[in-house]
């Protein structure tokens, strides 16, 4: 590395310098720095980059690129980052030997995944402000922030959502206490059934809230595992087959050959289970056989988020009552429940309102997308787009 650096500096002494032609040809510290910057930044262990005086990125090391990639622009144009850059550029150094003061700030981004980054900046070299470079070190604080928020969110949602089932539960407890031994056995069984149902609901709600929080914590890391659709569907089938023992429900599964996703296996299973669960829950009509179809194929370029990325389209279709158009945009919203469902269609069991929020959270982490199409009276289709795994070397 030392050799590289010295060679680089050496070169700049001889070549006419394109950056600042109006300056004396003898190299000064700042031109040497500008040339050596990419190598120096690459050598820094941790996430680092070098900015020009206008905030443009002059050099960025591999760590920062892989960790933040597309978010770098958004981080650096944030007002906090801009203000700190300005302060860093103006920070005086007392003597030639002393370094200018370091400045730091924290930037929070809300979309697409919430993240929080600590930026530390210091001016390096540069005779005038225009020639100055600013070295930036980045530290990810997302996990800390996410844990805090997770706690707050959990408390807010849980305290609200658990209120109804809890009220129902304590209502029945009071009722049974008052009636004492006078309750006849059939009512008693009924009460206990309802109480059991409410307790199960609370349990499921807590499970799902926790699962959602865990997904949020992992949200920053895109999965890199290769997952064959074949294997995925086999796993899902193993899980859902018991739900289709009823003669009124059928499940068909088909997919094109050799499809592979860049995805986390457990999360994909969860995602498809949630979609199939919804098809059963909201697709069942009395006296009407329910068909659910799980299907996967290569996506056309127009179906993905950008035409350049190849993807796989997984569909879960049912022939249930369908969903009214005005609900469709809001389906993946947390706790959004369709309130005008025909009575009895859900088997008297209310959903947690989190199933599709979980689906969306999983897809966000995978860089995927979901879309719904529905014709009332004929059925609903959930179309999930996921990026294709690159072909493994020396295989297939």
């Amino acid at each position: 590395m030392v050799w590289h650096l010295s060679r680089r500096v050496h070169l700049s002494e001889h070549e006419p310098h394109h950056r600042s032609p109006d300056r004396k040809p003898t190299p000064n510290s700042s031109t040497m720095l500008a040339d050596a910057a990419p190598l120096l930044v690459e050598a820094i262990p941790g996430m680092a980059l070098i900015l020009g005086s206008m905030g443009q990125i002059l050099a960025c090391n591999e760590d920062a690129r892989t960790h933040y990639g597309k978010s770098l622009g958004a981080l650096l144009r944030h007002p906090n980052a801009r203000d700190t850059l300005k302060t860093a550029l103006h920070a005086p150094s007392a003597t030639d030997m002393a370094l200018p003061a370091a400045c730091s700030t924290t930037v929070r981004l809300d979309v697409p995944v919430k993240c929080s980054v600590h930026l530390a900046m210091r001016r390096v070299g540069g005779a005038s402000e225009r020639d100055s470079l600013v070295l930036v070190l980045l530290h990810d604080r997302s996990i800390m922030q996410a844990v805090d928020r997770m706690r707050a969110d959990f408390v807010a949602h849980a305290s609200h959502e658990l209120r109804t089932p809890l009220a129902s539960l304590s209502g029945f407890i009071d009722l049974m206490r008052e009636e004492g031994d006078t309750t006849d056995p059939s009512s008693r069984t009924l009460y206990l059934d309802i109480m059991n149902q409410q307790a199960t609901r609370m349990q499921r709600l807590i499970d799902r809230l926790l699962y959602l929080s865990q997904l949020e914590l992992k949200g920053h890391h895109r999965p890199h595992e290769r997952l064959d659709v074949d294997d995925l569907f086999a796993l899902v089938l193993g899980e859902v087959t018991p739900r289709f023992h009823d003669s009124n429900r059928t499940l068909t599964v088909d997919h094109e050959e050799n499809l592979a996703l860049l995805a986390d296996r457990d999360e994909m299973v969860q995602l498809l289970l949630n979609l199939i669960e919804n098809a059963i829950r909201y697709g069942t009509k009395p006296d009407h056989p329910l068909h659910v179809r799980l299907h996967a194929r290569q996506a056309t370029p127009a179906e993905g988020p950008s035409p350049a990325t190849p993807g796989v389209l997984i569909m879960v279709e049912d022939n249930g009552p369908g969903i009214a158009a005005h609900h469709i945009p809001r389906l993946t919203e947390r706790f959004y429940r369709i309130t005008d469902q025909p009575e009895g269609s859900t088997g008297g069991e209310q959903g947690t309102g989190l199933g599709l929020a979980i689906v969306r959270q999983i897809l966000e982490r995978h860089g995927g997308q979901i879309r719904f199409t529905s014709t009332p009276g004929q059925g609903t289709a959930c179309l999930v787009w996921l990026p294709t795994a690159p072909a493994p070397q020396g295989h297939r």
Binding site: P21, K70, G73
Partner: protein
């Protein structure tokens, strides 16, 4: 020789400065919208106040962008891609300024609310706001990377915002009919929904300019809108020059 390079250097510096101002403006409006979202989701009055205060900074930046762009046009005689970029910056800065206005108008409305927004509406609003903010962020990234494909995708994706707006408007109207005592609240909500939708519209304006800037051709004047193409958004291939 030196003189000529000197002029080139100055020109490039000014172009860099223009880009830097656009990014700064984008960052500021993103931050403003983030604050508005925090004000909605967490009932954070301080955030609402802060968001409203940033309006003047955004206005000042728009003025700077315009002045610098005109200066570049008048003094440097830019050509081709540079010319398109500089020309496009003026309406893009205008769009960002409008977005800033809408964001601070939401912020002001939030701080004037007599009662807190009920939870379901709060969740829905923050969801819609997140969508709008995400589009804004993606378009600022597309501008920075001069990515016409990404800009085109955002242009087409705004219909999701429109659909969300329609769904929430329908919901508010229904609530008003059912519970007339909530009319005041829901009228305020309708304004907020509408403002978010307008911010989304301006995102598509910027997207159009980015496509023009990169490819030199304009997008069709009409955009897929709301429920027209609910089932499968038609996606034209981005025009290329």
């Amino acid at each position: 020789m030196h003189q000529k390079q000197h002029i080139v250097q100055r020109y490039e510096d000014e172009l860099l400065h223009l880009r830097s101002l656009m990014e700064q403006m984008g960052g500021l409006v993103e931050h403003q919208l983030s604050l508005v979202l925090a004000a909605i989701t967490e009932n954070d009055g301080q955030a609402a106040l802060l968001a409203a205060q940033q309006d003047s900074d955004v206005d000042a930046l728009e003025h700077k962008v315009e002045t610098l762009a005109i200066r570049l046009l008048a003094l440097r005689g830019p050509m081709a891609a540079d010319l398109r970029e500089i020309v496009a910056c003026i309406p893009m800065a205008g769009a960002l300024e409008r977005m800033g206005d809408y964001a601070s108008s939401i912020a002001r409305r939030l701080s004037q609310m007599e009662q807190p927004i009920p939870r379901p509406a709060r969740l829905a609003l923050s969801e819609m706001g997140r969508l709008v903010l995400e589009h804004l962020r993606r378009i600022m990234d597309a501008l920075e990377h001069k990515d016409a494909d990404a800009a085109h995708a955002i242009w087409a994706a705004d219909q999701l915002v429109d659909q969300y707006c329609e769904a929430m408007t329908a919901d508010s109207l229904e609530q008003m009919t059912r519970h007339p005592h909530t009319i005041r609240l829901h009228i305020a909500l309708l304004f907020i929904i509408r403002n978010l939708e307008r911010i989304g519209d301006h995102t598509t304006n910027i997207a159009e300019r980015v496509v023009f800037m990169v490819t030199g051709s304009m997008l069709p004047p009409s955009r897929p809108h709301g429920h027209d193409s609910q089932h499968s958004p038609p996606r034209q291939e981005p025009p290329r020059s």
